[in-house]
């Protein structure tokens, strides 16, 4: 959890808005450090978290979260965190002779054209109960449910269409955000340059998915490298776009530069890096 990012977004683990759909995207950069931030943030806030990890294994997230001061194994033990390890499930499903049959959530691997309904149902059932409600009899239960997905571009490369991913994210939003009053955070990694301006509506999966998710989201954080090139002290810039309904109808866009450290990340206004001042 990065304290500076919390102050930029004006949230804290005790006080944050629900019903948010957050889109993390990057272009030729790596926005996964933001995913670690949100995972730690929502665990600290006491939310019921369902993490769909398709890009890395659980041990990777555990190791990084350990450095940030959050223990994923303890969260799993007390039932606060449900972790879908996509990489393990993939091998179980693709290996029909194996002992484990693999979770039904990854059934789209056998049939990519069928869509992500099973994955959505897995996420829905994971967050549809409150963790620790038995132990804390006096409380109303845990915090709001949160679904995090890392990352959806893996789904595209596995043969799922952009439309199916947009349907999945729509259902996450309709159920988790609107009905259960929780939050959804989705990471989308775009590795290619923005070179398809000629035909904006073409079925280029990644760009179309990015536009579709941008239309659906209420908060978008876009990470890219510095336009002037590589810098040792500044790893890139983050554009924060708040799409919630604002008084004048305009979206609020602010840009920050960041540097990722061993145990966190620091954010600062452009041009104010400590290396420069």
């Amino acid at each position: 959890m990065f304290a500076e990012l919390n102050s930029i977004l004006n949230v804290s683990p005790e006080h944050f808005t629900t019903g948010e759909f957050v889109l993390l995207s990057d272009r030729q950069s790596d926005a996964s450090f933001l995913m670690h931030h949100f995972l730690g943030f929502y665990l600290r806030a006491g939310c019921q978290v369902c993490f769909i990890g398709l890009a890395q294994s659980l041990s990777h997230y555990s190791a990084v979260s350990q450095r940030l001061g959050v223990s994923l194994s303890q969260a799993k033990e007390r039932g606060q965190l449900v972790f879908l390890e996509g990489l393990n499930e993939c091998s179980a499903i693709l290996n029909p002779d194996g002992v484990r049959t693999g979770s039904e959530a990854m059934a789209f691997l056998r049939n990519p054209g069928a869509g992500l309904r099973a994955l959505f149902q897995f996420a829905h059932s994971s967050v549809n109960h409150s963790w620790g409600a038995e132990e804390r009899a006096g409380d109303a239960g845990g915090g709001p449910p949160v679904v995090l997905v890392d990352d959806v571009s893996v789904l595209l490369s596995l043969g799922v269409s952009a439309d199916a991913v947009l349907d999945f994210s729509h259902y996450c939003r309709a159920t988790v955000c609107s009905q259960l009053k929780g939050n959804v955070v989705i990471l989308l990694r775009c590795d290619r340059e923005e070179d398809d301006y000629d035909d904006v509506g073409s079925d280029e999966g990644l760009e179309r998915l990015l536009r579709g998710l941008t239309h659906q989201c209420s908060l978008a954080l876009h990470v890219q490298g510095l336009p002037t090139g590589y810098c040792r002290d500044i790893h890139g810039q983050v554009e924060v776009c708040d799409r919630r309904r604002r008084a004048d109808g305009q979206q609020k866009k602010t840009t920050f530069q960041y540097k990722v450290h061993d145990r966190g990340a620091s954010f600062f206004a452009p041009g104010t890096s400590s290396a420069v001042l």
Binding site: T175, S178, D199, G201, A247, Q250, Q251
Partner: protein, 285 residues
């Protein structure tokens, strides 16, 4: 022209509001809904992309008793079996049935938010056919719809806009609208307008984007300098009185030139006897 459209479309009118991910046209769509409700018209909203709470929060202080909300947002594909409107029910029979739920004499206004959602699941020809039948069959009085133009190929967007009688494109920047209106006589009107939407969803039109702006307001080059480039009045007079060295007045020219007594006398000599056909004078003819 934006205000004319807000006052109401002609019967059988179809308005498309096009937006992109840089600027959302949803608030403009809500302004149209609010204007229709204020005119005491019945509005049916078939919503795929926003929940009922979000819409009603957005339309605060409007007479929403005439608003009928059809929930296609919670379960448009039937995954959770929650009994709402699904996208494969988007055909003229089902939609007309929805519109008949209000008991007014005049056909209601149908708002679809958004057509992009429908186009992802229903083939474009079927969508166009349904819209055309709804428009011309008298089931609905007017159709207003939101379309995300960056989610579809240009051809598809173009085909849908052909069906529409009015198209408003919200340009990036958020406050500029390009409006195209097709009147029943066949005439097409186009306009560009600046607008802003206030908190209570009233649209305030601003002046047209002025192209004369760069010509006015030229920066004064003699301002903000550390040395003085300006002239006082006495200095300006002295400057204008100064006689430049090689700019002569008429009197000085006359005195110097002696034009009245000049006469040129020419006597050709042998060298000037120039034979055109033998310039070097060496032909042995």
């Amino acid at each position: 022209m934006l205000h004319d459209l807000l006052q109401g479309l002609d019967a059988g009118g179809f308005l498309i509001i096009q937006d992109s991910c840089s600027y959302s046209g949803r608030r403009l769509l809500w302004s149209f809904i609010k204007a229709a409700l204020n005119r005491a018209e019945v509005v049916h909203v078939l919503s795929f992309e926003v929940s009922e709470d979000e819409l009603k929060n957005g339309l605060q202080e409007s007479p929403i008793e005439r608003l009928h909300f059809h929930n296609a947002y919670s379960d448009p594909l039937g995954w959770t079996s929650r009994g709402a409107f699904t996208v494969d029910q988007f055909c003229v029979e089902r939609v007309a049935q929805l519109a008949k739920q209000s008991s007014r004499v005049k056909p209601p206004i149908l708002v679809i938010d958004s057509l992009s959602w429908v186009l992802r699941h229903v083939s474009p020809p079927a969508v166009c056919k349904t819209l055309q039948q709804l428009k011309n069959g008298g089931f609905v009085g007017n159709l207003i719809s939101l379309l995300h133009s960056d989610m579809h190929p240009r051809g598809m967007v173009g085909s849908l806009c052909q069906l529409a009688t009015s198209v408003i494109t919200v340009a990036a920047g958020g406050d500029q609208a390009k409006i195209t209106r097709r009147l029943k006589s066949g005439k097409v009107l186009q306009d560009e307008e600046l607008f802003s939407i206030k908190d209570d969803l009233t649209v305030v039109g601003q002046s047209k984007p002025s192209r004369a702006d760069p010509q006015e307001q030229e920066a004064d080059p003699t301002a903000n300098l550390t040395f003085n480039l300006r002239l006082s009045d006495t200095e300006r007079d002295a400057k204008e009185k100064l006689a430049l060295p090689f700019v002569f007045s008429k009197e000085k020219k006359a005195a110097l030139l002696h034009t009245s007594s000049g006469r040129i006398v020419y006597e050709p000599d042998a060298n000037d006897d120039y034979d055109q056909e033998d310039p070097d004078d060496d032909l042995d003819v």
